[in-house]
Structures are given as C-alpha cells and as structure tokens.
Symmetry: C2
Subunit: 304 residues, 2 copies
C-alpha cells in the first residue's frame, strides 16, 4: 500500500468545486434568520457548514454528471444528502452516543450550543433533507422526487444508517463479539447505504438504466467499505491534527472495528482490495467516470 498522499490536482480541483457549490446551496437552504427560534438554525448551520469533506455530495454530483443532469438539481440533492449525513454526525456525537467534543477541529454542536439544541438541530436537518427532495425545484417530475424520497428513507432509516448505528452501540457491549462479516453488515448499513444513495441519486435524476444504477450502487458499497476500513486504520495511526478529531477513540470505546477484528495489515489489504473492486463496477461507463475512479484511490490513501 503506497504511503498516504494528497489527491491528484484534477481530483482536488473537482472536490473543491463540489465543496464550494454545495456550501453555497446549503447556505441558501439555511439562511440566517432573526426569528426567535434562530438558535436552531445557527446550530443547523454549525453542524453543516464546518469544513466537511463533502464526499457524499461529490458522489451525487459526479454520478449525475454521467447522465448530463442539470447541475442545480444535482446540487440540491447533494445538499439534502449532506443534511442527512450531518444530522447523523450531530446525533452520534451526543453524550449518550459517542460523547465527542470535537468534529473537524470544531466543537461539536452540543458543545457549542447544548444537548437539547443538538437533538433538535439533527431532527430538523433530517426533516429538511426530505423537504428538499420533494420540492419541484429539485426535479419537476414527481416520479423522480418520490423515488429520491423513498430510496433515501430506506437507506437512512432502521434498515440502513440508523440500524447500523444501533448495531454499533450493541457492538460496544463487552458480551457481544462481532466477526468481520457482521462488522461488514454493520458498516454497510451505517455508512454504505447513504453513500450508495448518493451515487444512486445521480442515476435517479438522470433516469439511468437499471444496470447503470446497479453499477453505481455497487461502486458505492465497495467504496464505502474501503472508506470505513481506512477510517479504522486512521483512528489508530493518524495525526489528530490531520483528522481534526481525537484518535484511538474506537479502541477506548471498545468499538468493533476492522482493525480490532482482523489486525492492521489485513485491514490494509482489505481496503486495497475493496477500492480496486469498486473501480471495476465503473467499467460500464467506458472511462467516463474518471473522477469516481480517482476517488477510490484517494479514499484509500487519504491522511484524514
């Protein structure tokens, strides 16, 4: 495995472009307000405009590119997915969950405001994600809107992201020992399904064929798992200055990670294998999905 490196200049430029575009969309969807409930919106902005990598927006926007989707529509969907991701981080960081004080080098939402506000900010972001998707501005065809809403709900709910988070809590129990297969299922639910939705959303917006949609979904599942395995590795060996959060947390919390289950070296091979496999799914696009391919290499080799 090569040593950690930065993204290629092309990928970095593409990532920066997505970050700027999606930040502008988020700011428009979460304007400043002087209503008495303003602290809620401040907390929502704090939890979403905090220098995130915007990996899921990148997946949505670059999947949409493959089908020549109008870029304003893709950006709205990307923002909705990021709302969903950020709500999950706000709730995961709560004292009753991971009890994290830092996120991307900033105080977490409940540290900057308070616990009740963080719970509500998460709830409001989760709800807003669906409001954005069901808006005709996102797509004029209600079939497309409904497909986006339904697919996101399935990816994010009890059979997806929230279910994965529940498994993560169960795995912390001393009496519970998850094997690598169970951890893969956990991670597929907790992280993979929302990443798969991000890619699938581009295909839904572009009314892609079923094989194209399936290819993107499978790409995202493998990429998501590679991402998670790398996260586990970074948790044990990264510099907190790079990741913007405390390291060694997973081990201290008794979390089920790929590193704790299979060891660091096997985890590294597994991540490499998954990244290579993710790229193979993109063959159906005959070289037009170059940025998504490059992302697979980057996810593996990132430092943070």
């Amino acid at each position: 495995m090569p040593s950690p490196r930065d993204a290629s200049p092309e990928l970095q430029a593409a990532m920066d472009e997505v970050t700027q575009a999606v930040n502008r969309t988020i700011e428009r969807l979460l304007p400043d307000t002087d209503l008495p409930e303003a602290p809620l919106y401040d907390a929502m902005r704090h939890g979403t405009l905090n220098g995130g990598k915007r990996l899921r927006p990148f997946l949505a926007i670059h999947s949409a590119f493959l089908f020549n989707v109008d870029s304003a529509r893709a950006r709205r969907v990307a923002a909705a997915i990021e709302f969903m991701h950020c709500y999950s981080l706000i709730h995961d960081d709560l004292p009753a969950m991971d009890d994290a004080s830092l996120r991307r080098g900033q105080p977490t939402v409940h540290r900057e405001y308070n616990e009740a506000t963080a719970i509500l900010a998460g709830d409001a972001l989760l709800t807003l994600a669906f409001e954005v998707l069901a808006d005709p501005e996102t797509h004029p065809d209600p079939h497309v809107q409904c497909e986006l809403v339904r697919t996101l709900a399935i990816a994010a709910g009890g059979h997806g992201m929230v279910g994965g988070q529940m498994l993560d809590l169960i795995a912390e129990d001393d009496d519970v020992e998850f094997d690598a297969g169970e951890i893969s299922r956990l991670q597929r639910m907790k992280t993979g399904q929302l990443m798969a939705f991000a890619c699938e959303a581009g295909a839904i917006l572009g009314k892609a064929s079923e094989p194209q949609r399936r290819a993107l979904r499978n790409y995202a599942y493998d990429l998501g798992l590679a991402f998670q395995v790398t996260d586990d590795i970074l948790d044990v060996e990264a510099d907190p200055q790079d990741t913007g959060k405390d390291t060694g947390k997973d081990e201290a919390a008794g979390k089920a990670t790929f590193v704790s289950t299979m060891g660091k070296e096997a985890a590294k091979s597994r991540a490499e294998m998954l990244a290579a496999q993710s790229k193979r799914h993109l063959k159906i696009f005959e070289g037009r999905a170059k940025m998504l391919e490059e992302l697979a290499d980057y996810v593996l080799e990132r430092r943070a």
Copy 2:
C-alpha cells in the same frame, strides 16, 4: 364551561375504531424482528404502541372520509403521522429535554431502554414516516405522494414542530418572557402544524378543492390550540391517574403556558372560543363532518 365529560357514544366508537385500525397498521409497518438490531425496533414499537389517543390519525382518517378516500390509504397516512408525533414525544422526553419518566402511564423509551436507543428510535420513526408516504401503496399517484411528503416536512421541521420545540426550550429561560401571542405562535408550530397536516392529508389524498383544504387546515389550527390550552389547564388541575403523567410539571419547569400567562379562567374561555371557532370552519362540508365537530367539543371537555 361544562364539567369534564366522556366522549359521546358515537364519537367514542369512532375513536376506538381509528385506534384499532391504526394500531394494526403500525404493527404491520413495525413487525417483530430477530435481526441483531432488534432493540431498535422494540423501542420504536414501545414508543408507538403505548395506548396513545390517536388524535392525529383520527383527524386524518375522518378528513379523508369526507372525500371517500380508500380507507387502507388513509390508515397508512395516519400511521405515518403518528410515527412523526411519537418520534417527537420520544425526543421531547429525553433527559436533555423534558426529562420525563412516564408517558401514558408507561416508562418513557429512554427509561425502558436507554438514551442512545431512544434517540435512534426517534430518528428511525421520523425517517419511516417519509418512507411510508412516498410508497406507491399509500397512493399510486406520485403527485399525491410528493405533496404529502413536502407538506409533512414543512409542518414537522424547523418552521413547524421542531421550531416550536426550540421555542419551548427558549421560553424556559428565566430571562425570556413570552406573551400570549408568542405562546400562540409557539403552540401553532409545536402542535398545530402537525394537526393541520393530519387534516390536510385527508384533503390531499382526496384531491379536495383548495377552499375545502383550507377549511380543514383552519379547523385543525383552532382545534390544536384549544387542545393545547386544555392541556395547560389539565396540567394544573387534572388527576395524574387520568392523564398517565405527572401534573404540575409545566409550572415546575418554568414553561410558558396559557394558564401561567393569562390565568386559568381566561384560558378556559379562550379554549371554548377556539373550539367554537374550529367548528365554524367545517360549515363548508354542510353537516357531513359531524365526527370532526364532535371532536372539538370533546377536546375541550376531556379529562386526560
């Protein structure tokens, strides 16, 4: 104001029928599971199948009756609204919010399970509400599905229920004094908007005319406020055996209530006025909305 009484036999029968029907639908949408994440589903069932009054399902189902909507469709929408309502109760009961130990005479979800599970169960129910609405089984016309999703998201999010909950927290601050107008706005957001959606959902399912839809929305706003004023009165004078929760809580928490702001007698007159006003909106249905009219009397005069 007449002394508290039970519902009329016709209303009681109609309420029982809604309760049984919506409970069956909720059980079908939340089946028992032996997956490792089962505690999440147990908590979701605990938070939704706990003997609630099913006021919002009643509004949705009886509004839908006015337009001869297929009853299976109305029941699914009613269940989705109840998921939304119950998630808000689960999160409101958390230690960081109201710190309630009892709800309808049962331990609250975080007391029966734990705080993390309660947060996740709320998140999953909120997400499931949208999944149900965007499902073709709820309505085959995607215009209708999208209208339901978008209208619910607006009613439940930062400009609706969650925003109202934020205002409720702000009002607890000793330095903040809300007047009756501000409390009305708070309650309209916190309670009224979801009740308005319940009525509006019947109209959306039935492709009602705009005046019919507006009449139902206005009925629900006035009914919701009458309900809330009565709740505040019950908090100071009801028997905990009847309400299934501790009384005097609002005052102890320094909450902004109609009783604390305008006094008990003025609050009673206000509730009567609102209930009468709510019934006047139903005139457009020329006597066909009898159950909704009776509900307005009952809401005022209930004991719990």
